[in-house]
Each structure stands twice: as structure tokens, then as C-alpha cells.
């Protein structure tokens, strides 16, 4: 029953989405407030039904109702409860359901919090959200219904793909989708602005926080996915320039550009047309990511099932939305009014440069990801574009971007002083040179460019710090005064500094990991030792263990550093009988930001076992940097200006808010 109810709720959600996409438009056309008002209530009701459908599927998973095909194919009664729940989105149908649920959530949020928006803008935005939602509800109902029944229900399910039975998977897809789908809000705002033919102050004030919110989740989602791949797949890699990884990186790059151009628009009323284009691009790339990952054109852990009708359906959605929005853009954008003037060297100029580099870097990732697909379709020739391509194209562009990052916040709006900015960055430059000298003096081996890259990372980090000290007036005022000034700085300034420093921190991690990572692969017997970096891992023995839905072979290692024992590690190999598949569970020993990583290979006939051990110096900085960026975003989001600055119609409500 519950599955049928879920299915029915989904059909009702589609019906509501259709109402939401048409009625408000008629309302806007006829200037009829009642019809426009329909948008808000349908958006909220639609979210309720989508939530019900999602809840129904979750219940089917939790009670292991194997008469539902989707549950049968992806669950097992012996699976721990947490993986029964996360299994809901560990498959194609369920993950699409999560996608629309998040879309409906964002629409509902606009409906609830958007009461201070001009009513025409609000109803247009919700109508566009309705179009997207309708398309995806149709997609789910027509090609990927998660509620289908089996006529002859089996007793046991086929279990979830073992590599997906991990806590990382519990978090990664919802985060990523909050990011992907969050860009639909800025997209809807852009389309609404194009339809309406004007962009006002409310537009910029609204788009920026929503973009920021989506960007924070996307950043965390990408970082989480990368960390999951690092520890779960067992080969110690954290980024492989795999097409599915690129599919999430492209919206991130476009979203980062959008975030920065929206600042210009909000503060200076310039770059309007460009911001609209970026908003369209960011969501288009999110859709493209969904297409690449879900259609089966790529074979990867994300391509759950290959069914040509699904690919064609998503491709159709893609073409309609991207083609349609770009056509609308070409038609309407020239009518939007031009904004304020600025000199090439100014804060605006720096942000334009940031946008240029980010979008170009995004374009190179786009080429590298889609070129092999295009070539195969056109000529039948199969090629693979891997890390070397991206290192040669994306790398230089990002280096240029990072060099420019500390200068941006130092420049004044309208007309900046590049020499002045450079003077304020002398400290950062000196620190970078010092870092360069230290690295050159202390390390041997590694890539030639590594010390330079570390210097660049230090420059970015200290550059972000000097922006704060500069604005707080450290060394210019008494320490107490400058401390008070620092506390009083707008949170968005702190946010900028954190996010920019996070970039440098991540770069530091990336460079140290790739240049000084040591690796050892050996075949060891009980009592033998593998040495890697400063560490020695002695195999104490092999144990068999029975998990809830798997058997595992655990190897116990005692770890010593410079002869002193520091801990134990037990990597394991799990075999899941339901799928006949096995996974490698790596074991990690963390010391500061560095990690010792041990994963197991095959056991040989003579009782020895293949072991892969890595010492990865400062590897955690990669994800720590990403978390810092997200934290910076959150700080910026909590900025006073975004909370209380927007005009509100109800005066008495405003008075009730606590004073800041």
C-alpha cells in the first residue's frame, strides 16, 4: 500500500507542479494577484507531496519490502539500518527522487521566505521552478519509477553495491544535490528577470544568498565525494579527473564565478547581463552533470543502470532548458539596462578577471570531459582524456587565478590602485619567498614546481590574512582599537578571507600530497614489516570476521614511527555474499594533517598478503581547505546585510527583530 501511496503522491506532485508552472504566468499576464498567489501555495503543497513520496520509499526500504523492485534490487534485510536509509538514494530511481525533493524544498523555501519579493518576480520565479520540477517528475514517472512492484516478491534483496555502504555516501549525494539543485534558484531568478525584462535591487539581494547557499553545499559535497573515493576505493587517489568528478566541478566553477559577479551586481549595479548568463550556465552545467552521470553515457560508480530511454529523456530536458534559456537570453538580454562604470583596475575589474579565469578554466574542463564523447559519436574513435590534459590546461589558468586572488579584496571599488595593493601585499610576498627558500633548503626530490606552488599557496593564505589586518588597521592603531575594528568588520569580509585562505590551504595539501607522497606495495607474511615514510607497519596476523551482511578478512598491523609504537591499523577486505562482490576497506592513521594509509590486496597461496601502504603528507589539508571555503561562505551568508538589509513591506515585523 505504502508504495502505491508514494506513487500517487508523486503523480499529485506532478499535477501541482504543472499548476505552479502555468497559473502564475497567466496571473502575471492578466495582472491578477489571486492567480499569481497560487504559485506560493502550490509550491508548498508540492513539496509536501514530494516529501511524502520520498518518505514512502524510505519506509519501503526500512521495512525491507522486497515486493518493490527498487528495494529488492538495492537492499538486503541484514543491512544495517543506516545503509537501508542511505540506500534510498544509492540507486538511480531513488536518487532522482531525492533530486526532485530538494528542488521542491527550494521552491517551498522561496515561497515561504519570498514574501518580501515583488509579487510578479516571486510568481515568475516559482513558475520557472515549476517547469523544472514538472520535467523531472515526468522523467521519474515515465522512465524511472521507484515504486514499481514485482508480481512474485522474493524473500531476500540483492543488496546495495558494497562500496556505497559507507557513511560518506550517506552525506555526499544530498550535499551535492543541495548544491546542484540550489543553482536552480538563481536560474529561475535569471529567467524571471529575462521574462519581466528588468532587474531591480531585490533581484541581486536575493540571488546572492541563494547562490552562496548552493555553493556551500556543492563545495562540501565535492569535498565529501573526494574523501569518500580516497578512503573507500582503496587506491589512495582523491581526484582522478574522471568525467563524473568533472561534472560536479564545472557547476562549482561557474557557481564560484556567479558568486563573485553577483557581488558586483549587488554593490555597483554593473555586470547585470553577465550575471544572468552565469546563472543560466551554472544551472545548465548542473543539468549537464545530471545527464552525464545518470544517462549511462559514462560508465562509473554513479551510472547505476544504462537504459537508453532515460538518456534520451534527460537529453531532451537538457536541450529544452539550456537551449530555451539561452534563446530567451539572446532575445531579451539586450533590453536590460547597463549598470555603473568602472576602471579596468578596480574591485570590479578584479572580479571580472576572476570571472574570466574561472569560466575559461570551466571551459577547459568542459572540453576535456566532452571531447572524448563527441569524438566517439562523430568518428567512432575512442580516446581517454586524463589528468595530464587537465594539468596542462586547468593548472596554468588556476595558477593565474590564485596569483590574482590576494589583489582583488585590496582594490577599491570603481577605481583601484594596483601599486597600493601590491604594497599591502609585501608581507605576503615576503612570506611566500621565505616559504620557497625553506622548502628548497629542507626537501630533496619532488617536482621542480612544488616549492613554487607552495610559495603560491603561502602567498594566497597570507594575502587573505593581510586583507583582514589591513582592514582592521593592525600596526596603524593601538592593538585594542584594531581588535575592536576586526570584530566590527562585516562578516562577509571575514568570509572572503576564510574562503580565499581555504583555497591556499587546499593547494598546500594538494602540492604536498602529490610531491612527497611515498608509496610501498609489498607482499607480506605475518611478522614481516612494510616501511613507508617514517613509519613501519608490522603485520601481526590475519583474522576472519563476520559483519551483518558480509564476511571480512582483517589484517592487524602495529604501527611504529622511528622505532616507537604509535598505534594499530586494521585494514580489511569485505566480501558481500548477496552480490558476490568485495570491497577494500583502507585503514588510516592520522598524525596532524598527514596520514598513513594501508589497504589490502589479494592473499597469495603461501599465506602472504599483498599490501599497499602510502604515507601522504598534509593530505587532510585538501579537504580542510574545502571546509574552510564552505565556512567562509557560511560566514558571508550570515552577514548582517543579507539578513536585515532587504526591504520588507511589514514595518511592525521589522521592529520585532533583535537589534544587531
Amino acid at each position: 500500500m505504502i508504495a502505491e501511496a508514494g506513487h500517487y503522491a508523486l503523480v499529485l506532485a506532478l499535477a501541482l507542479a504543472l499548476v505552479q508552472s502555468i497559473v502564475p504566468l497567466i496571473g502575471v499576464r492578466l495582472s491578477e494577484p489571486t492567480l499569481m498567489g497560487v504559485a506560493g501555495s502550490t509550491a508548498i503543497a508540492q513539496f509536501a507531496f514530494a516529501l511524502f513520496a520520498f518518505g514512502a520509499l524510505t519506509v519501503a526500504y526500512v521495512v525491507s519490502d522486497f515486493s518493490v523492485v527498487n528495494v529488492f534490487e538495492n537492499s538486503h534485510s541484514a543491512k544495517p539500518l543506516i545503509y537501508k536509509i542511505t540506500g534510498v538514494w544509492g540507486n538511480h530511481e531513488g536518487s532522482m527522487l531525492l533530486w526532485v525533493l530538494i528542488l521542491a524544498l527550494f521552491s517551498a523555501l522561496v515561497a515561504i521566505f519570498g514574501t518580501n519579493l515583488p509579487s510578479v518576480l516571486r510568481s515568475l520565479v516559482l513558475a520557472v521552478q515549476g517547469w523544472i520540477a514538472s520535467a523531472f517528475y515526468l522523467f521519474i514517472l515515465v522512465t524511472s519509477n521507484p515504486f514499481l512492484r514485482i508480481t512474485d516478491p522474493p524473500i531476500e534483496g540483492r543488496d546495495l553495491n558494497p562500496v556505497l555502504q559507507d557513511i560518506g555516501l550517506a552525506v555526499h549525494p544530498p550535499m551535492l544535490y543541495l548544491g546542484y539543485v540550489g543553482f536552480s534558484i538563481s536560474f529561475s531568478f535569471a529567467i524571471a528577470a529575462l521574462i519581466e525584462g528588468r532587474i531591480g535591487a531585490a533581484w541581486a539581494r536575493w540571488v546572492r544568498p541563494w547562490t552562496l547557499l548552493a555553493w556551500i553545499f556543492l563545495t562540501l559535497g565535492i569535498a565529501m565525494g573526494s574523501y569518500w573515493a580516497y578512503y573507500e576505493l582503496g587506491w589512495g587517489g582523491w581526484w582522478f579527473w574522471d568525467p563524473v568528478e568533472n561534472a560536479s566541478l564545472m557547476p562549482w566553477l561557474a557557481g564560484t564565478a556567479l558568486l563573485h559577479s553577483a557581488v558586483v551586481m549587488e554593490k555597483r549595479d554593473a555586470l547585470k547581463i553577465w550575471t544572468i548568463l552565469l546563472a543560466i550556465l551554472a544551472f545548465s552545467l548542473s543539468l549537464l552533470g545530471t545527464f552525464l552521470v545518470r544517462s549511462g553515457v559514462l560508465t562509473s560508480v554513479h551510472a547505476f543502470a544504462t537504459d537508453p530511454t532515460r538518456g534520451v529523456f534527460i537529453l531532451a530536458i537538457l536541450c529544452i532548458f539550456i537551449g530555451g534559456s539561452l534563446a530567451l537570453y539572446a532575445w531579451r538580454a539586450p533590453e536590460l539596462t547597463q549598470g555603473g562604470l568602472f576602471a579596468p583596475i578596480s574591485r570590479e575589474g578584479a572580479l571580472v578577471l576572476n570571472n574570466l579565469l574561472l569560466t575559461t578554466a570551466c571551459a577547459t574542463v568542459f572540453v576535456g570531459t566532452l571531447y572524448p564523447l563527441a569524438l566517439e559519436t562523430l568518428t567512432g574513435e575512442k580516446i581517454s582524456v586524463g589528468a595530464p590534459f587537465f594539468n596542462l590546461t586547468f593548472g596554468p589558468l588556476f595558477v593565474a587565478l590564485l596569483l590574482a586572488v590576494p589583489f582583488g579584496p585590496m582594490l577599491a571599488w570603481k577605481r583601484g590602485d594596483i601599486l597600493g595593493a601590491a604594497q599591502r601585499l609585501v608581507a605576503a610576498g615576503l612570506c611566500a619567498l621565505l616559504a620557497l627558500a625553506l622548502v628548497l633548503a629542507w626537501t630533496r626530490g619532488g617536482a621542480v614546481l612544488a616549492p613554487l606552488a607552495i610559495a603560491l599557496a603561502v602567498f594566497v593564505i597570507i594575502g587573505a590574512v593581510s586583507d583582514l589586518t589591513e582592514k582592521a588597521g593592525l600596526f596603524r592603531f593601538a592593538p585594542r582599537v584594531s581588535l575592536r575594528r576586526a570584530v566590527g568588520l562585516p562578516r562577509s569580509i571575514w568570509g572572503t578571507a576564510f574562503a580565499h585562505a581555504g583555497l591556499g590551504v587546499a593547494l598546500l595539501g594538494i602540492v604536498c600530497e602529490t610531491s612527497w607522497n611515498s608509496e610501498r606495495i609489498a607482499s607480506v607474511k605475518t611478522g614481516e614489516v612494510v616501511a613507508v615514510g617514517d613509519y613501519e607497519a608490522r603485520l601481526d596476523g590475519l583474522v576472519q570476521r563476520q559483519g551483518p551482511n558480509y564476511r571480512e578478512q582483517v589484517a592487524r598491523f602495529s604501527i611504529s614511527r622511528d622505532g616507537k609504537p604509535v598505534g594499530e591499523l586494521s585494514p580489511s577486505k569485505r566480501s558481500f555474499s548477496a552480490r558476490g562482490a568485495s570491497t577494500t576497506e583502507a585503514a588510516l592513521f592520522t598524525s596532524g594533517f598527514s596520514q598513513l594509509y594501508i589497504s589490502l590486496g589479494e592473499q597469495n597461496a603461501d599465506g602472504s598478503i599483498a599490501v599497499r601502504a602510502y604515507h601522504k603528507p598534509l593530505v587532510l589539508l585538501i579537504w580542510f581547505g574545502a571546509v574552510m571555503m564552505a565556512f567562509g561562505g557560511a560566514l558571508s551568508l550570515s552577514d548582517r546585510r543579507l539578513r536585515v538589509g532587504a526591504p520588507k513591506p511589514a514595518r511592525n515585523k521589522q521592529r520585532l527583530q533583535p537589534a544587531e
Binding site: 553495491n161 562500496v163 579596468p344 578577471l353 576535456g368 582524456v385 595530464p388 596542462l392 609489498a522
Partner: protein, 162 residues
């Protein structure tokens, strides 16, 4: 500066960045892409030793030999031709004889494929898409294989990097 001059500066810098990016992309596409090939195609194209490519096919049954220090030798076949492959390291969990694999590396002077990466899939019914396409083209595709490929769910790529 007038509005026009400012716009020229903007457009000029945009074009410069784009031109640099285009040059980088073209340069990288020339040097760093890797072609996919089956043993038959490799023999036809007479690939030079040292040139990197991806070799795909089935692991020839009976060809897998474990050597010293985690070295493994096996042959990749597509039914018509086969190529000996040497790899040092840990093979993916689902590497088995008779299964589809893709390995990346280059031929040495003796015509042995030195692989530094071996890709296999977690699911035993799975065959890498490139391999399946190539086998289909050469007429070694059986109906039950197609059924298997259709049934394949949640195939997970697995990588072994030396």
C-alpha cells in the same frame, strides 16, 4: 577613459585569456590524450613502442602468472589477436581470467604491453563499455553477453595503479 575604451580593455583581456586557454587546450590535446585499442587494432595500427594507449579486451583464460614482487603477467585477447601484458602491483578485486579489463600503458621493444593501470569492474556480469563495443564490432559478442550487460547493475570501476 571613455566607456568605449573601458569596454575595449575588457574585451581585449577576455580575448587574451581565451586565446591562451585555447592554445593550452590544443597543445594538451596533441600530447596528452590516450587512444583506446584492442589487440587486433593494436596489431593493425602497428603502434610504436613507448606510445601510451589503453588496451582493452578479455583476460585470456590460463594466461595469468603471478611473478616475484607482485609482478603479474597475463594476456589480453579480443578473440582474434592477443597481447602479453606485464603489470606490477595489486590487481583490482574483480580481476579474473575471462573478464573484460582495460589497461593503460605502452608497448616495450619486445612487444610486451607494460601496464601501469589496470581497470576492472566490481560486478562480475559487467564488461567495460569500450571492450563490449569493440567485441561487438568484431563479431565476438554473444547474445547472453548482451543480456548480461543489460542486467549489469551498479557496476563499479576499480582501478589498480602501480
Amino acid at each position: 577613459m571613455t566607456r568605449k575604451q573601458r569596454r575595449l580593455v575588457l574585451i581585449g583581456s577576455a580575448l587574451t585569456v581565451l586565446a591562451i586557454a585555447a592554445a593550452l587546450v590544443l597543445n594538451a590535446l596533441r600530447d596528452s590524450i590516450v587512444f583506446f585499442s584492442t589487440p587486433t587494432m593494436a596489431a593493425e595500427k602497428s603502434i610504436k613502442p613507448g606510445q601510451r594507449f589503453r588496451l582493452g579486451g578479455l583476460v585470456q583464460p590460463g594466461s595469468l602468472v603471478h611473478g616475484e614482487q607482485l609482478q603479474v603477467k597475463f594476456a589480453i585477447t579480443d578473440g582474434n589477436a592477443s597481447l602479453p601484458v606485464v603489470f606490477t602491483g595489486i590487481l583490482p578485486d574483480l580481476f579474473r581470467e575471462g573478464q573484460g579489463v582495460i589497461s593503460e600503458g605502452a608497448l616495450d621493444a619486445a612487444g610486451v604491453f607494460k601496464a601501469d593501470t589496470v581497470l576492472a569492474k566490481h560486478d562480475e556480469t559487467y564488461m567495460p563499455k569500450d571492450v563490449a563495443d569493440a567485441l561487438k564490432k568484431q563479431g565476438h559478442w554473444k547474445a547472453e553477453d548482451a543480456q548480461k550487460a543489460k542486467d549489469a547493475k551498479a557496476a563499479t570501476p576499480e582501478r589498480a595503479v602501480r
